[in-house]
Amino acid sequence: MSAGPAPPPRLQDLFLGFLKIGLMGFGGVAAVARHVIVVERAWLDDEDYGQLIGLCQALPGANTVNAAVMLGDRYRGLAGALVCVVGIMAAPLAILVAAATTYDRIAGYPLARLALTGAAVSAAGLVLGTAAKLLVRARPSPISWACAAAALIAVAAFRVPLPWALACLAPLGLAGAAWSSRRR
């Protein structure tokens, strides 16, 4: 981190920043998270942010929640981490409760079911498109491509349980990455 003269953000700044990320994250929080953290609040520069998110992608859990934990902890310790997580989750959970209540009320109507099936097939496309985009952007080595393909085939075609898929492929992926980084 470039140690600028700027004082670390206060707890209420962290809360408001992540509240905004949660509130504005329709269609995915990644873009708005970068905007708030890098452009608007200047908590990190682009490079630090890229490294932070890169690491978060390899950890279990939602990337932006992990980023919230790490940033909050870096600036304000445990309280900061907690404030950031509550901030990012508060608005989405409230909206989700409203949506779920509406769903319970309209779920019996055929038109509502049709709309939600339409939304679901589209959401599946959203998951596919986002994953494909990130995969190309990650510039995987040939071994990593093979790992990604094996994971896709194992889980989608053969319905291999996730713990098994990870137990087999994670060591392979790590070994491949270690090997290709040694050659460099």
Binding site: L23, M24, F26, G27, V29, L55, C56, A58, L59, P60, G61, A62, N63, V65, V69, M70, L78, A81, M89, P92, L96, V97, L111, L114, A115, T117, G118, A119, A120, V121, S122, A124, G125, L126, V127, L128, G129, T130, A131, A132, L135, A138, S144, W145, C147, A148, A151, L152, V155, A156, R159, P161, L162, P163, A170, G173, L174, A177, A178, S181
Partner: protein, 176 residues
């Protein structure tokens, strides 16, 4: 309220959260299997609808756990499922964030992310396939899944736009 589903929700999402490398979206096939087949809390069609709502709502993709918790045990189910899927990864992130300040070895991190991120993304692709299959939208459904996927891949527009268009297209296709 009966306490048992709450305990089951906590154990299910707490343990799944530990293997959600790359985000909760890699868990979709596993959550579907557990919630529909193992626990039989939901049928596949209801799972699909909750999945659609959780993807359309703003926020991190752990919301799928939240809305399943809501569906099974109301507000307390939502809170238990959300806290269960958030807490274990948050503790790991906290420790990792603190550890990294002391590590100088950036090569270790490069190997770690380079090895696991593509794998996580492959799992996320599988999630998309499983979700499309669970939605049971027939041929029109698969075509719209593919079209939305391509649109998200090739453009920089807000994906919610494509989701909305896809939903409308599906409804028209079914009604015509």
């Amino acid at each position: 309220m009966n306490g048992r589903p709450l305990v089951q929700l906590a154990i299910l999402f707490g343990s799944l959260s530990l293997i959600s490398i790359g985000g909760a979206n890699v868990l979709i096939p596993e959550i579907h299997r557990q919630v529909v087949e193992t626990y039989a809390w939901l049928d596949s069609a209801s799972f699909t609808r909750l999945f659609a709502i959780s993807q359309a709502a703003p926020g991190p993709n752990v919301m799928l756990a939240s809305i399943i918790g809501w569906h099974i045990a109301g507000l307390s189910g939502l809170m238990v499922a959300t806290i269960a899927i958030l807490t274990p990864p948050a503790i790991i992130a906290l420790l990792a964030g603190r550890g990294i300040r002391h590590w100088s070895g950036s090569r270790a991190i490069r190997v770690f992310t380079g090895g696991l991120v593509p794998l996580a993304l492959g799992l996320m692709l599988a999630s998309g396939v499983v979700a499309a299959r669970a939605a049971s939208g027939g041929l029109a459904g698969y075509m719209i899944t593919g079209a939305v996927g391509l649109a998200v891949f090739f453009t920089r527009r807000n994906p919610l736009l494509w989701m909305g268009l896809g939903m409308i297209a599906f409804m028209l296709a079914q009604r015509l």
